[in-house]
């Protein structure tokens, strides 16, 4: 039943470019899709370990910059008269490096997450993203700072027998994003249902208990952070090669907020949640644009967000699932109580 729904949804998404001819809407779907991938990766951290990162855009942005710089090349001076020169590589190598470097950064933030929890973790992650943004802004020699990296090449795939295929059109990019999103979805799904996924959930529901049954907290949290950051890096790479210009504003707080909104409104800890929330909040601005003044669009955006949280506090997917499929409510409710208590009260 569940698999059928998933296959149907994928088929429906795959058919979109066949009947949707409007490039503007297709563009909106592609950028939404890229952010949905970011949101899915955030969900791994937020929904399955209970750690709310408000600096997730850092990994996305790092992925974007690494990918762009790898494919554009650079020449920077390091302390001690060393020059680091890099000749342009194919964009696909950039994407792989983006995943790698973002994952590594995730490792360090993962280590941090072991030390601080709850509101403190939130603020550390915000700060991390801001520091990365300020480095991108001020390390002009490498990143061009506010002058932006431009003319980033589109992703090219070398296919055996066919040769080089550069993905320039909307339709090609749409399918690229869809495929990456699908891979990320399946990866996260597998992970969540593995032994490791059970460890993560155990940790979220009751840390003391989880530790007592032998779950290695640091290792679990760090691994979740690494995978989550790597997927976000992949999304950032897609972004850089699709938009073809990046500047430090990619790290803007509002971009993190967009991802968090997608996850929480859709339902954290639910695999489909970020997809549903992402499609709604990715396309809401498109729907609002023709009907109201620019400032009012933002007011409506904030209003819709508040309304969803009030009406469906656990997110759209879990709330609807609960409404339609009768389930015993005991265990999940207790889990969320446990989460609040640990999230709320432990500064250290």
């Amino acid at each position: 039943m569940r698999a059928a729904v998933t296959i149907l949804a994928v088929a429906a998404l795959a058919s979109v470019p066949l009947w949707l001819r409007d490039p503007y809407l297709l563009n909106a779907l592609i950028t939404t899709g890229i952010f949905v991938i970011g949101a899915m990766s955030l969900n791994l951290l937020l929904g399955f370990t209970g750690q709310l990162s408000l600096g997730h855009i850092a990994f996305f942005g790092i992925g974007a910059y690494v990918s762009a710089l790898t494919s554009l090349g650079f020449d920077v001076g390091l302390p001690g008269d060393v020059r680091l020169v890099h000749a342009p590589w194919p964009p696909i190598a950039g994407s792989l490096l983006a995943i790698l470097v973002a994952g590594m950064c995730g490792y360090f933030v993962g280590l941090l997450s072991f030390r601080v929890r709850g509101a403190y973790f939130v603020i550390v992650t915000i700060s991390f993203a801001e520091v990365v943004r300020l480095v991108a802004l001020n390390w002009v020699e490498l990143t061009q700072g506010p002058l932006a990296l431009t003319n980033i090449p589109s992703i090219a795939l070398s296919l055996p027998g066919i040769g080089e295929l550069t993905l320039r059109t909307k339709m090609q990019n749409y399918y690229l994003v869809l495929v990456v999103a699908l891979v990320a979805y399946l990866l996260i799904a597998r992970l969540v249902h593995s032994h490791f996924g059970r460890a993560m959930r155990g940790l979220m529901e009751n840390e003391t208990l989880a530790v007592s049954v032998g779950i290695d907290v640091t290792r679990t949290l760090t691994l979740a952070a690494v995978i989550s950051a790597a997927i976000a890096g992949a999304a950032g790479s897609l972004y850089a090669h699709y938009i073809r210009i990046i500047d430090p504003e990619v790290f803007a707080f509002i971009n993190t907020v967009t991802m968090v909104i997608m996850v929480i409104s859709g339902g954290k800890g639910s695999l489909a949640g970020p997809v549903v929330g992402g499609l709604i909040f990715g396309l809401l601005p498109v729907a609002l644009r023709p009907v109201m003044a620019p400032e009012a669009q933002w007011i409506a955006y904030g209003g819709v967000l508040i309304a969803i949280l009030f009406v469906l506090p656990r997110g759209i997917v879990p709330s609807l699932a609960q409404r339609f499929i009768r389930r015993r409510s005991g265990a999940p409710a207790l889990a969320s109580v446990a989460l609040t208590e640990t999230g709320a009260k432990e500064p250290a």
Partner: protein, 238 residues
């Protein structure tokens, strides 16, 4: 069953998906010391928390001095004359001893009377008077227990509920604590005592209830329960 000053009828109570109290009824008569005994997790603390309004009951009725207090929030319960001295003492660690006592009189007006009551507590517990400017978190366990009792008395309650007052205290302090509790009863204040040290509780109480799995399974005078076979086996170590 004889009606008490505190009447509890068929109270059901729980947290999330767990039901802690499965319909309990009990009566506390004026001027008596009533003990509530039972194993860990039997629902003793929950009973007190339900009475004081920290956990709203799902069903049932509670009346104090004839007034319905079912579902009332803690401030109203306190205002009606019931003080609750919580488990683990729960003094405010970063506030001074004096401020802790003043918190006990939070709902009262008239600073003169409050100061007089405070002095009475200091007279009763000279250690607290010595440490009146000290942060409560720096006191020893016994001193914190005295402070918690003093704080509860500051509201001038007609019924005072103690939750595990002996927990984690040295034996001589435990004895002192029980003496104080008896003293409170003797001075005319009704006491509802939750205690894991079943023998001590039964010995000093006028009436006792035994809780098992969220239900009252036995009640009677303290001496009756001590004599009971089941109680002896399960709670008095033989």
């Amino acid at each position: 069953m004889e009606r008490g000053v505190l009447e509890i009828r068929d109270v059901v109570c729980g947290y999330g998906g767990v039901t802690a109290l499965r319909g309990i009824s009990l009566d506390v008569r004026a001027g008596q010391l009533v003990a509530l005994i039972g194993a860990n997790g039997a629902g003793k603390s929950t009973t007190l928390r339900a009475i004081s309004g920290l956990v709203p009951p799902r069903a049932g009725q509670m009346r104090f001095e004839g007034i319905d207090i079912t579902g009332a929030r803690p401030p109203r319960v306190l205002a009606s004359g019931i003080a609750h001295c919580p488990e683990g003492r729960r003094v405010f660690p970063h506030m001074s001893v004096e401020e802790n006592l003043d918190m006990g009189a939070y709902l009262r007006r008239g600073s003169g009377e409050i100061a007089a009551d405070r002095d009475r507590i200091y007279a009763e517990f000279p250690r607290l008077a010595e440490r009146r400017r000290q942060a409560a978190g720096t006191l020893s366990g016994g001193e914190q227990q005295m402070l918690a009792i003093g704080r509860a008395l500051m509201s001038r309650p007609r019924l005072i509920m103690f939750d595990e007052p002996s927990l984690g205290l040295a034996p001589n302090i435990v004895e002192r604590t029980f003496a104080i509790i008896r003293g409170i009863r003797d001075a005319g204040t009704t006491v509802l005592l939750v205690e894991q040290n079943a023998f001590a509780a039964l010995e000093m109480c006028d009436h006792a209830y035994l809780l098992e799995n969220g239900r009252i399974v036995l009640s009677g005078a303290g001496s009756e329960l001590i004599a009971n076979e089941h109680v002896r086996k399960a709670y008095l170590g033989g």
